[in-house]
């Protein structure tokens, strides 16, 4: 690869107001799908451009065309219907999918968007999927007799999508499993499902995990069937690094979150640099990527760009200090 410390992002970016308005108008039948898609493409190009200008190494399409990370897939796959609004926390709500029949995929879900984003840049664009365990855990189930039956069906469907992304040319496939860290007793089942997804994929595989008790599931994470763990680390005080330290045979790549995505405050350069240095105490630069804690869709564009900028500046300075060169 390069000199290490590659910069990337977890997935979502804030949607410009014109997208939020257009999504509303589309839902009310006031504009057609084509008009909405054109605007989503415009916003995607905008975010690709921002990432290029910031010099990020591995970029994302920003998910301008997605609402919720689970609902998006449920809406584009068969077997699901959408529920009414349920609360996530505070005053935030989302529509939770309901499995009402066998889950399946009639067509590619994300591949055209990946192709479009990759056509705009020479930087590698990650193929972005939501993992089977998270889709199952974050859906209601009115069809399958057991969670395991639901999960294994779901894993086969996500695998099909991953295969199509790789065929289209994606070199990085990220399969997000933020639900993973909360139920240690189901980690084995979750890993079995994830292995179905990554089976035979000719790509660098990543999974994003956040906001849970990592200590309780760490041995499972250290042996998860994936190349890289993308972790929320800032919000949890970099405790994850201690877990790695205490597990000498750990050999995964890690993408480490160094800015909090739920705070309006932009972290100082020194704070981010100190986070990166903490990561380098336990991982070599070639095994360590740097990114925000989580998707950034809840921030404003100004906050988001400022946070990405401080990551970019901090990585550049740390590389200089370590004599890693600028790649």
């Amino acid at each position: 690869m390069s000199n290490g410390l590659l910069t990337t992002a977890v997935g979502s970016y804030p949607k410009p107001d014109y997208i939020t308005r257009a999504r509303g108008r589309f839902q009310r039948g006031q504009i057609g799908a084509e008009e909405l898609t054109e605007l989503e493409k415009q916003a995607t190009a905008h975010w690709i451009d921002i990432q290029e200008r910031l010099g990020m190494d591995v970029v994302v399409d920003g998910e301008m065309y997605r609402g919720d990370m689970v609902a998006y897939f449920a809406e584009n796959m068969s077997g699901f219907t959408n529920s009414g609004l349920v609360r996530s926390y505070g005053n935030r709500y989302y529509r939770k999918p309901i499995a009402t029949g066998p889950v399946g995929r009639d067509k590619e879900v994300t591949v055209d968007w990946w192709r479009y984003a990759q056509s705009l840049t020479d930087k590698p664009v990650k193929g972005m999927l939501t993992g089977p365990y998270t889709i199952v855990d974050w859906s209601f189930n009115e069809y399958y007799p057991t969670r395991e039956a639901f999960l294994m069906d779901m894993a086969r469907v996500v695998h099909e999508e991953a295969v199509d992304l790789v065929k289209a040319g994606a070199r990085y496939i990220q399969i997000d499993e933020p639900a993973l860290s909360v139920r240690p007793e189901e980690m084995e089942m979750a890993a079995k499902a994830f292995a179905i997804v990554t089976d035979g994929l000719d790509a660098f595989t990543i999974t994003h995990i956040c906001y849970g008790d990592f200590a309780a599931v760490f041995p499972h994470l250290a042996n998860f069937p994936v190349d890289m763990l993308d972790m929320e680390t800032t919000n949890s005080g970099y405790d994850f690094l201690d877990l790695i330290r205490g597990y000498p045979s750990f050999d995964k790549y890690v993408s480490m979150g160094v800015v909090d995505v739920h705070s309006h405050v932009v972290e100082s350069l020194d704070k981010v640099k100190s986070g990166i240095r903490m990561g380098l105490e336990v991982l070599s630069p070639d095994k360590l990527f740097i990114d925000p804690d989580c998707g950034m869709k809840t921030r404003t564009e100004e906050e988001c760009v400022a946070k990405l900028q401080v990551i970019s500046d901090a990585v550049r300075e740390v590389k200089q200090e370590l004599g890693l060169g600028l790649g």
């Binding site: 609004l85 349920v86 005053n91 709500y93 974050w138 860290s181 919000n235």
Partner: protein
Amino acid sequence: MITTMVGNYPKISPDAKAPSLRTAINRFDEGRISLDDLKRVEDEVTQEVIQDQVDAGLDLVTDGQIRWDDGQTYFARGITGYTINGLIRYFDTNTYYRHPIPEQKLQSNGGISVKDFEFAAANSQRPVKAVITGPYTLARLSQLGCYDDLRSLVMDLAGILNREARALQAAGATVIQLDEPSILKHKDDADLFAEAIECVVDGITATKALCTYFGDASGIHRRLFGLPVDLVGLDFVMGPANFDLVADLPEDKMLGCGIVDARNTRAETAEEIAETIRRLAATVPMDRLHVNPSCGLDFLPRPNARAKLVRLVEGAKLAQGSAS
């Protein structure tokens, strides 16, 4: 047999004519309406969700916890010494709360939930159950902060929440429920837990309910059944092993039966619910049962939550009819 809720109820309604708490909170955050305006909407929504419960036919209602962001911060914000930190996931649910941290030794600052209880009681045609997040769970879902160990945090909270329970009792609460899901995840702490519960209920003559959910009580159920409370609530949906434990319930205790899945939209039929009640009543007579959803209903969209309550009451009637 009493039909009731565990605690919370969905805050927003798909009915366009209903007062919207979601909109009101957004407007308040943007500085477009005053705190009084926001409180007025909270009052209206509380009245609405109490009416939903009364209309469904519940015997014992709650205020729906419309004003609570979650069970932790609602109390922590009312206790001197706590600050509120970043988001953390609530058990194995896809919901989050902000992590309370004791920055200094915690102290009671007077009644936390008393005004809200009084409002609900004044606006309900049915008795209102007061709900307190128990000291063990509140401590477990906080950080330790300035405390050296879990025990000292739990016992400080127990003392503070005893004052809360006494204040609720003085305000007229006839049923006070302590929510303690965390003990099911840390069964080794049963001794500390017992000490904390004894402290909270000291001096309380109202009906005392201890409510657990998100698992089964195997291994500690005899300890729970032996505590100085009048009712022990168990979750028979996420903890089917609880069915095997109820035979050990002493005859002077009531059983809280979480038998409708509060975390899935699939609507149980009245017959399914009646069958579960009959199964439990074979061991614990119906007049010692409270029947309710498995946990708070805020995990569901409002229409599904309402349907669950309607079915629960239908199922209870069916079970009672067939028994008489």
